[in-house]
């Protein structure tokens, strides 16, 4: 629609053919982003637009006796008020299980659940009108943990479940349960020289992407709607929105707007259906932008978890068995809980060889905020626990933590607890060796030569709490394992459409996918792949939309692998067509057209011997070659519901961290001094981006270790800190130096040998920091985020 301003445009970059894979090509959207011109979803604007606002439940569990919207509707400037009763078609949606009400249908199941919508001519008008909606709630008892959710007589949050997991769960308030059983734990336990157990807890982390949920829905003349939106997966949104609107999918046209970070928090719908409903109701464009307060209620969070682990080993430091139970709190709706359970279960042993395992992982339905995808996806919680266990075992055996891990590290050919053979490089021991070999940062860096103290280098920072008093240093190590791509038999594919044409005598490739660029740099890498495969310098990345097939989700570290794979695959098809065209046009002039292996390089068709046969522009002439291809990674299998056996994952990725911390032991404040990471990325398609991903993931893990938690009141299940004043994420002053060591051991099954990068560094960073704090303080520290209270016994 032409009157919508600040919609995405194509990104064209001319960066020479050296901007192919392996180069640190700069972002094609970088210039727009530094000038302020890049159009994020919250920047969208239409001359005629209304503002949507969502009224949310103040209670975590309540029956809605009545809703009176008359006063809101009578407010000047208000164009529509909608409740559940006004929904035109499907009333529920969900990524896997359609259990989430579009608007509350008689019951609210968590604090902040959407109850009503208002569209008005100014955001303040909408807010004032929403405040006039009278909702009569009858509060119901809440369930907030495993005990209350599965107690006799506990309220069943979703009666009459028909989802595929309903049949095998032990209680209707359990979303999904996945055991993994292998070997004989009882026998191994009898043989173990050392057994350690531990109970661990991980708090609820928020993605805290900076760009709030937002989008603009524009009603179309054909009765459909155009939605400009920040999301992680356009087609999954489409699949959920269209039934809610009662429209066929081709009447819901979606275009990706600029996305201000995601980290899993945009996998589920937030305001997408709401904006469309209001637009169709009012026949006016409707923009919805959450503020930060609302954003904390507008997306799912990382599952909080309680984990109980038991490990046994021989005297000489060989792991014999592992038994664990992982309870994830999924909150009020399923979101991606089943897949998170699958990950937690299958990756619960970590990157170690352990032949006897007995694992149970499950996710609960509770009245807490819904939880779902966040970077690391089930593997983060397990990693915190199993790495703590590794340190305990090392201590019990008198071994260095790295040495104990080395003795048990998996390698290519190792067998996972699921029975899956790890059939590509798994350099776990090498990654640990590399971070251990780094020189340690100097002691007492807060002291300048003149004896003055720089508090910025101390725990507490500018708050001036110590000049060195009580400060003790500690060093900790951790390593983790994360799956790449969608697992458990999911048909995980991507689509790419490539056009090659000559413009003003120069070959230009256009890459069109529906991949959600959320900041990760997929657009950079896709252009690099096109340059490498087609030998062109100039590549345009078309805006992502639903006019092309699905590119899957920007999650699970999968976009470079899968959509990158699709771009490569489509480019190869284009190349074949170019060569056919060349043979037809010029084949008679040179025998090499028929005989030699031909390549596209520097805008030319060349033989593998380097002889130039033709300019690409001449081969193309007026023709434009366009190819659309789907590409899928090799299939995976579901896990057996009883034993958890199955080749459920397509690829594994590994990262290791060494943390150096200084702890003010009297005040319980932690300063991370250095957090070094080594990661195997298979092949770094863009080394600059790879380093950026590793550093960013590392810092999110640091945040979980020492500050980040959504605090939910255990009695009322209300969120207590939905703001950036009280949900703290690390500032640049909390951030240590982040050295990165990148290994490139190719995975022969993946395009270019690459390995998904984004998530692995988020796993091991948290346990490495906590291990370092344990070393500094001698405390057991079973819960993250660490709070000063934990370190001071208060």
């Amino acid at each position: 629609m032409s009157d919508v301003t600040r919609t995405p445009t194509g990104l064209t970059q001319h960066s020479g053919t050296q901007g192919g894979i392996g180069a640190s090509t700069l972002r094609p959207d970088g210039t727009l982003k530094v000038t302020g011109e890049f159009a994020y979803a919250s920047d969208l604007w239409h001359e005629d637009m209304l503002w949507g606002f969502t009224l949310r439940s103040p209670h975590a569990h309540a029956r809605i006796r009545s809703v009176d919207v008359s006063a809101a509707l009578a407010t000047g400037g208000v164009h529509a008020v909608m409740t559940h009763d006004d929904l035109p078609a499907a009333t529920r949606y969900g990524l896997e299980i359609q259990d989430t009400p579009v608007l509350a249908d008689g019951v609210v199941r968590h604090h902040g659940e959407p109850v009503a919508l208002v569209a008005a001519d100014h955001p303040e008008t909408a807010r004032r009108a929403a405040a006039k909606i009278v909702v009569d709630y009858e509060q119901l008892p809440v369930v907030t943990d495993e005990r209350t959710a599965t107690a006799d007589g506990a309220p069943v949050l979703h009666p009459d479940r028909t989802d595929p997991h309903a049949a095998h769960v032990p209680h209707p308030n359990v979303v999904h349960r996945q055991p993994v059983v292998r070997g004989d734990v009882a026998a191994a336990r009898a043989r173990a020289d050392v057994i350690v157990t531990g109970e661990y807890e991980v708090g609820m982390q928020d993605q805290a992407f900076l760009g709030p949920e937002s989008g603009l829905a524009v009603p179309a003349e054909d009765g459909g709607v155009d939605l400009y939106i920040a999301t992680q997966w356009l087609h999954a949104d489409l699949r959920q929105i269209a039934p809610v609107l009662g429209l066929p999918e081709d009447k819901v046209r979606m275009t990706l707007s600029g996305v201000g970070g995601a980290f899993g928090g945009r996998e589920d719908l937030s305001m997408q259906a709401h904006a469309c409903l209001l637009a169709l109701r009012t026949r006016r464009p409707v923009k919805i932008v959450y503020n930060r307060f609302e954003s904390f209620f507008g997306h799912v969070h990382r599952h909080p978890a309680k984990l109980r682990y038991e490990h046994g080993a021989t005297r000489d430091g060989k792991l014999l068995f592992m038994a664990c139970r992982i309870v994830l709190d999924g909150g009020a709706y399923a979101s991606s809980s089943p897949a998170v359970v699958g990950n937690a279960a299958s990756l619960s042993a970590g990157p170690y060889v352990v032949d006897n395992v007995d694992v149970e992982a499950l996710a609960l339905y509770t009245n807490n905020p819904p939880c779902g995808a966040m970077r690391g996806f089930g593997a983060v919680q397990a990693c915190f626990a199993y790495e703590a266990q590794m340190d305990k075992l090392a201590a019990a055996l008198g071994l260095h933590p790295v040495e104990f891990r080395r003795r048990n590290a998996m390698a290519q050919g190792s067998v996972m607890p699921t029975g899956q053979v790890v059939d590509s490089p798994a350099p776990v021991a090498e990654l640990l060796r590399r971070v251990q070999a780094l020189p340690l940062p100097p002691q007492r860096q807060w002291e300048s030569a003149g004896g003055a103290t720089d508090v910025r280098a101390l725990p507490g920072g500018l708050s001036n709490t110590t000049h060195g008093e009580g400060v003790v240093r500690g060093v900790g190590y951790a390593v983790g394992i994360k799956n790449v791509g969608f697992s458990e038999g999911f048909d995980d594919y991507s689509t790419a459409r490539i056009r090659l044409e000559a413009v003003a005598g120069e070959p230009v490739a256009t890459v069109h996918t529906a991949m959600a660029e959320v900041g990760q740099g997929g657009v950079t890498v896709h252009a690099q792949i096109a340059r490498t495969e087609l030998g062109v310098a100039r590549v345009t990345i078309a805006p992502a939309d639903t006019r092309v097939g699905s590119a899957g989700s920007t999650s699970a570290s999968r976009q470079t692998y899968v959509t990158g794979g699709a771009v490569k695959h489509a480019c190869e098809a284009v190349r074949e067509r170019v060569l056919e065209l060349g043979r037809a046009r010029f084949g008679t002039y040179h025998p090499a057209w028929a005989s030699a292996e031909l390549l596209l390089e520097d805008g030319k068709v060349v033989t593998d011997g380097g002889e130039v046969l033709a300019a690409l522009a001449d081969v193309l002439g007026e023709e434009s070659i366009e190819v659309e291809r789907e590409w899928r990674h090799r299939p995976t299998e579901p896990f057996d519901l009883r034993t958890g056996q199955g080749s459920g994952h397509v690829q594994y990725s590994f990262a290791a961290h060494r943390a150096v911390v200084e702890v003010d032991t009297e005040l319980g404040l932690v300063k991370v001094v250095e957090l070094a990471c080594a990661q195997d990325v298979g092949k770094a398609l863009n080394p600059l981006s790879v380093t950026g991903q590793i550093q960013g993931g590392t810092l999110q893990g640091l945040g979980l270790a020492v500050m980040e938690e959504i605090v939910v009141d255990p009695v009322t299940a209300r969120v207590r800190n939905p703001s950036f004043t009280d949900y703290l994420i690390p500032t640049i002053l909390d951030t240590p130096t982040l050295p990165v060591d990148v290994l490139e051991l190719a995975d022969g099954h993946a395009p270019y040998g690459l390995r998904g990068v984004g998530e692995a560094p988020t796993l091991s960073s948290t346990p490495a920091v906590v291990a370092a704090v344990r070393q500094a303080t001698g405390l057991a520290l079973q819960r993250v985020p660490l709070r000063p209270e934990h370190l001071t016994g208060t």
Partner: protein, 296 residues
Amino acid sequence: MDFLRPASWAEALAAKAEHPSAVPLAGGTDVMVEINFDHRRPEYLLDLQRIGELHTWDADGPDVRLGAAVPYTRIIDHLADELPGLALAARTVGSPQIRNRGSVGGNLGAASPAGDSHPALLAAGAEVEAESVRGTRLIPVEEFYTGVKRNALAPDELIRAVRIRKATGPQQFSKVGTRNAMVIAVCAFGIALHPGSRTVRTGIGSAAPTPVRARAAEEFLAAALDDGRLWDTRGPLGPAVAGEFAELASGACNPIDDVRGSAAYRRRAVGVMARRTLGWVWGAYRGNEGRGAACA
């Protein structure tokens, strides 16, 4: 909502007299958050930004008369010698952007127990210059805080300035937060030595419904210093004295458990900060190292 833009102090007082519900607005660092998040819809906003004298200070006498709207950045840059404790506290306020807008007057107006300037004001000794069309009165800062986010201002009064004793001895300020910058105090502690009067003053933030002085700790320390003739000898403070001082400071707290920290932790942390900051100011006094100005 009406936006009142007085061009002079007299106009501002008149506007406040006419509309006692008007919310004064200077740097906006508290008020605008409440408006943006729909926590507050005042009938009138009273913009004080245009009133030049609120942005100036006068440091000629024994006090600094600090205009209510002087941003923290200016205190850090220009008043660290006269008001070292306040300058240290100012450096912990929010972020550089917030320090460019926020002011001591705003901190007093909001009267949050977590306001960063309060412990420094209590320790230095200060009076709030409250003015209305009826006249001016000076409110000792101890009496200014009357409850959680409540202060002693009458509905028609505005804060014109704060009169803060100039430092005659070392001062320190320390604040606990769970992040190294941009953090609201879990608790805070300020201390000032006043060698002229041979007194010690303190201030505790975020550990009671209002900012408070640890009077028992002050009196204990003053007595201990007198008994040992330490003001004259500048001899070392024994660990027992520092320990007792810390204990008494802890005892002055009346904290709550909240999302930022537990009551038990706050009590403990105030004690630790009291002991450490006492060590720093006494060390500075002994070494005569100026007035214990900012580190780094």
